[in-house]
C-alpha cells in the first residue's frame, strides 16, 4: 500500500509540473503582451498553439493511453468546428453576450464531436492495428469530403441541404445560406482569445491526466497492455475503449471550435481537416512521447512554431522543415540515439556525482 500511495504522489507531482508549465507560459506571454515586446507573429500564434496542444493531448489519449492508432483526428476537429460555427452564426443575433455564446459554442462543438466519436467508435474499435488506423483515416476523409462540399441554408419553411450547388437548395426569398459549399462559412464571430484557449488547454490536461489516474483510465491502460488479461479479470473492453475514444473526440471538437472562432472563417480543405492534418497531430504525439501529455504540449508548440520561424529561409522553408522532422525523429527514437542519451543523461550525471552510487537499472 505504501508503494502505491508514493506512486500516486509522484503522478500528482508530475501533473502539477505540467499545469505549472502551461500557466508559466501563459503568464510570460501575458507579460510580454502587456509590455508590448511580443511580435505580431507570436501574438497570432498564441491561440493556434493552445489549439494544437489540445489536439495533441486528445490524440495522445487514443494513441498513448488506449493504444490504438487513429489517423482521423482532424475529422472530429472538423465536426466540432462546423457544429459550433453554425451555432455561433445562428445565435449571433439572439445571444449577444460573447461570454454566454462562446462557452455554449464550445459545448456544442465538443458534444457533436463526441457523438460522432461514439458512433464511429462502435464499429471502428472492433478492428485492430493498421486496419483500425486506415478506417479512422477513411472516416476522417469522408467527413472532410462531405462538409467541404455541402450547401446548407434555411428559410421560414425549414432547413435545406444540397451537395450540388447553391441554387439547387431552392430556398425562398428570405432564405439564408449557412454553409456555402467549398467556401464554407465566411463570417464566424471572432470569439476565441488566448485566455479562453489557455483555460481550455488546462481543462483538457486536467481531464485527461485525471482520467489516466482514475479507475476507468487504469482499465483502459490494462486493455492496451494486455487485452486478454484485462478481459479475463472482467473489464468491459468495448465500454472502456469507447469512453477513451469519445473523450478524445470531444476535446478534438473543442480544438475545432477554437480553430474556427479564431480565424473567423471556416472551410473544410485537405490542408486543415484532411489526413495530412491528422498525421501532423500524430507527429506531435509521437515526437512528444507516446502517453506523455506534457511532451505532446511541448512538441505541438515547437512543431507549430517551427515553420513560422523558418520563414527567413523563404522557398526552402518546407524543405528544411522536412529534414528537421526526420532528424528530430531519429534523434529521439532510434535505438542508437537512445543508448547515446542514456550514456550522457543529465540525471545520471547528477546522481552519479551526488550519491556516487551505481547507475540505476535501465528499464
Amino acid at each position: 500500500m505504501k508503494t502505491k500511495s508514493r506512486r500516486l504522489g509522484k503522478n500528482t507531482k508530475n501533473d502539477l509540473i505540467t499545469y505549472g508549465i502551461v500557466i508559466a507560459a501563459f503568464v510570460v506571454a501575458e507579460v510580454m503582451q502587456a509590455t508590448g515586446s511580443m511580435s505580431s507573429l507570436l501574438r497570432g500564434l498564441l491561440v493556434p498553439l493552445c489549439m494544437y496542444s489540445i489536439l495533441a493531448v486528445s490524440l495522445n489519449l487514443t494513441v498513448g493511453v488506449l493504444g490504438e492508432l487513429s489517423l482521423g483526428h482532424a475529422g472530429f476537429m472538423c465536426i466540432g468546428a462546423y457544429a459550433s460555427s453554425i451555432f455561433s452564426v445562428c445565435t449571433r443575433e439572439t445571444i449577444t453576450e460573447v461570454w454566454i455564446r462562446f462557452p455554449l459554442a464550445i459545448l456544442v462543438g465538443g458534444i457533436f464531436a463526441a457523438i460522432f466519436g461514439f458512433l464511429i467508435g462502435i464499429p471502428v474499435l472492433r478492428l485492430k492495428g493498421d486496419y483500425l488506423a486506415i478506417v479512422t483515416l477513411a472516416f476522417g476523409e469522408i467527413i472532410k469530403n462531405i462538409l467541404g462540399s455541402v450547401y446548407v441554408g434555411y428559410d421560414a419553411n425549414g432547413v435545406y441541404v444540397s451537395l450540388e450547388s447553391e441554387s439547387s437548395l431552392a430556398m425562398g426569398a428570405d432564405g439564408t445560406l449557412l454553409i456555402n459549399g467549398p467556401l464554407g462559412l465566411s463570417d464566424v464571430p471572432l470569439d476565441a482569445n488566448f485566455i479562453i484557449a489557455t483555460v481550455l488547454l488546462l481543462l483538457t490536461l486536467f481531464v485527461v491526466l485525471n482520467f489516466m489516474n482514475s479507475r476507468s483510465g487504469r482499465a483502459v491502460m490494462s486493455i492496451r497492455d494486455n487485452r486478454i488479461a484485462a478481459e479475463s479479470v472482467g473489464i468491459n473492453i468495448t465500454k472502456y475503449k469507447l469512453i477513451a475514444f469519445t473523450l478524445s473526440a470531444f476535446f478534438a471538437g473543442i480544438a475545432g471550435v477554437l480553430y474556427s472562432h479564431n480565424l473567423g472563417y471556416l472551410a473544410a480543405k485537405s490542408s486543415n481537416f484532411g489526413y495530412n492534418q491528422s498525421i501532423m497531430i500524430l507527429v506531435f504525439v509521437v515526437l512528444g512521447g507516446i502517453g506523455k501529455m506534457r511532451g505532446s504540449v511541448i512538441a505541438a508548440c515547437i512543431l507549430t512554431a517551427l515553420p513560422e520561424l523558418l520563414r527567413e529561409l523563404n522557398d526552402y522553408r518546407m524543405l528544411i522543415y522536412a529534414i528537421a522532422l526526420i532528424i528530430m525523429m531519429i534523434a529521439t527514437a532510434s535505438p542508437k540515439a537512445n543508448a547515446f542519451w542514456e550514456a550522457h543523461s543529465l540525471k545520471k550525471f547528477i546522481s552519479a556525482k551526488k550519491e556516487n552510487k551505481p547507475a540505476k537499472e535501465v528499464q
Binding site: S40, Y265, L309, W341
Partner: protein
C-alpha cells in the same frame, strides 16, 4: 532513463524557439527612417497551388523593379516581400502577422480566396489597405479597405453564360468543375443561375475534387452521352489540359469553353497544343494576345528570367496590382511620414477616383465596394495561338 534525455531535448528545443521569437521581435524596430514604402504579399509558394503564388510573386516583383527604376512612388522606393501560406487560411494569418512585424504598409494579397477571407478580417481590424490580385470570391471585398484586381466569380460565371447564349454557341451545355475549389464552385453557381435565365440547358454538371483530379473519363462520358454541344470548364489550366487529353483519347470532340483559369494552358510543359485547338476562353489576360501592353509585359517578364510556364493571369494581375497601388498612392499623395492606417484611409478614397490602363484591362476603375469595372476579352485558340473574338 529515456525520459530524461527527452526532457533535455525538449528544453533545448523550447529555448531555441523562445530565443528565435525574441530575435523576431527585435528585427522590426529599425528601417522606418528610410525613404521606402513596404508592400507585402501572401500566397502559396509551396504545396499544391504553389504555381499561383509564384506567378504573383514574379509579376509583382517585375512591376516593383520597373517602378523603382523609374523613381518609385512619390519618390519612395518600394520594398516588396512575399510570404508563403500554403493555400491555408490559418497559415495565411501567420504570414500576415509576420509581414506586420516586418513593417508592412500595404498588402497586395492574398492570392487565394479562402485565405483572403481570413486575412481580410485582420486587415479590416488593423486598417491596412488590401488589394488582392486574384482572390475572386464574392465575399472577399466585404470590408471597405479591400479591393480586387480580378473579376469576382459570380461576375465570370454569368458573363460566360451570357456569352454562350448571346453568340448561340450551344443550347445543351455540360459543366465539369472542381467542387472542392471556391473559385470553380463559385463560377459554376453563378453560371447555373444565369444559364437558367438565358435558356441554356445544363445537361450534365459533373464535379471532381482536389483529391481526385486524375481521372475525368466518367465526367466526360456523362457529358458525351447527355449530348452536350459545349463543355464549360471553370477550372485551372493543368486540370483542363488533362481533361482535353482524356476527351481526345475517348474520341469526344466538342467545343470547350473556359474562364481566366484556362489561360496558360498552351505553355504547360508536355501539353500537345493541338488538343486545345478551338477552345474558347473568357479572360482579362491572354499571354499570346497581340496588343502592345500584353506584348510589352510578356517581353519584360521573359527578359527578367522567370519560368515561362509560371506566366499566367495571376502574374498579370499582380503586375497590375502594383501599378494600381502606385496610381492610387500618387492620387492620394501618400508620403513616407504616414502610418499604415493613414495610408489605408488615403488609398480607400483614391481607389474610386483612379482609372488604370493595365495588362488585364484598359481603363480599370473601382466601385466603393471594392469590385473592379473592366471587360473580359473572349479569345479562341486558333493554330496554337490566341485570337480575339467579338
Amino acid at each position: 532513463m529515456k525520459k530524461s534525455m527527452k526532457k533535455i531535448l525538449a528544453v533545448v528545443l523550447a529555448l531555441t524557439v523562445v530565443l528565435a521569437c525574441f530575435a523576431a521581435c527585435g528585427k522590426n524596430d529599425g528601417g522606418e527612417t528610410d525613404n521606402v514604402i513596404k508592400i507585402g504579399s501572401i500566397g502559396p509558394l509551396t504545396g499544391d497551388n504553389a504555381v499561383y503564388g509564384t506567378a504573383v510573386r514574379n509579376g509583382a516583383e517585375l512591376a516593383v523593379k520597373e517602378i523603382n527604376a523609374a523613381g518609385g512612388i512619390n519618390g519612395m522606393q518600394i520594398e516588396f516581400k512575399m510570404e508563403d501560406d500554403v493555400c491555408d487560411a490559418e497559415k495565411s494569418v501567420n504570414a500576415y502577422n509576420n509581414l506586420i512585424d516586418w513593417g508592412m504598409d500595404i498588402l497586395v494579397g492574398t492570392v487565394t480566396t479562402g485565405a483572403c477571407l481570413a486575412v481580410a478580417k485582420k486587415t479590416a481590424a488593423d486598417n491596412i489597405f488590401q488589394l488582392t490580385p486574384s482572390a475572386s470570391g464574392d465575399d472577399v471585398v466585404s470590408s471597405d479597405n479591400c479591393f480586387q484586381v480580378c473579376f469576382t466569380n459570380s461576375n465570370q460565371g454569368s458573363a460566360s453564360a451570357d456569352y454562350i447564349a448571346d453568340n448561340a454557341l450551344a443550347k445543351k451545355v455540360a459543366v465539369i468543375y472542381d467542387s472542392s475549389s471556391d473559385y470553380s464552385a463559385g463560377i459554376y453557381n453563378s453560371f447555373k443561375a444565369e444559364a437558367a435565365v438565358k435558356g441554356l440547358e445544363i445537361v450534365a454538371a459533373e464535379a471532381f475534387t482536389a483529391d481526385s483530379k486524375t481521372d475525368f473519363t466518367s465526367q466526360l462520358s456523362k457529358a458525351k452521352n447527355a449530348g452536350a454541344e459545349l463543355v464549360f470548364l471553370p477550372i485551372y489550366a493543368a486540370e483542363a489540359a488533362s481533361i482535353l487529353k482524356q476527351a481526345n483519347d475517348m474520341g469526344f470532340k466538342t467545343q470547350f469553353f473556359g474562364c481566366d483559369g484556362l489561360d496558360g494552358m498552351l505553355d504547360i510543359d508536355g501539353f500537345d497544343g493541338k488538343l486545345a485547338e478551338g477552345t474558347m476562353l473568357l479572360t482579362p489576360f491572354a499571354k499570346n494576345a497581340s496588343d502592345d501592353t500584353t506584348k510589352k509585359f510578356v517581353a519584360a517578364y521573359e527578359a527578367a528570367g522567370y519560368a515561362d510556364d509560371e506566366l499566367n493571369q495571376f502574374a498579370a494581375d499582380a503586375y497590375d496590382a502594383i501599378y494600381i497601388i502606385k496610381a492610387a498612392a500618387e492620387k492620394a499623395g501618400v508620403t513616407k511620414e504616414m502610418s499604415a492606417s493613414e495610408i489605408c484611409d488615403a488609398l480607400k478614397g483614391a481607389m474610386t477616383q483612379i482609372s488604370v490602363d493595365g495588362v488585364t484591362g484598359s481603363a480599370m476603375s473601382w466601385k466603393a465596394t471594392g469590385e473592379v469595372n473592366k471587360g473580359p476579352k473572349a479569345v479562341k485558340i486558333v493554330n496554337g495561338a490566341y485570337s480575339a473574338m467579338e
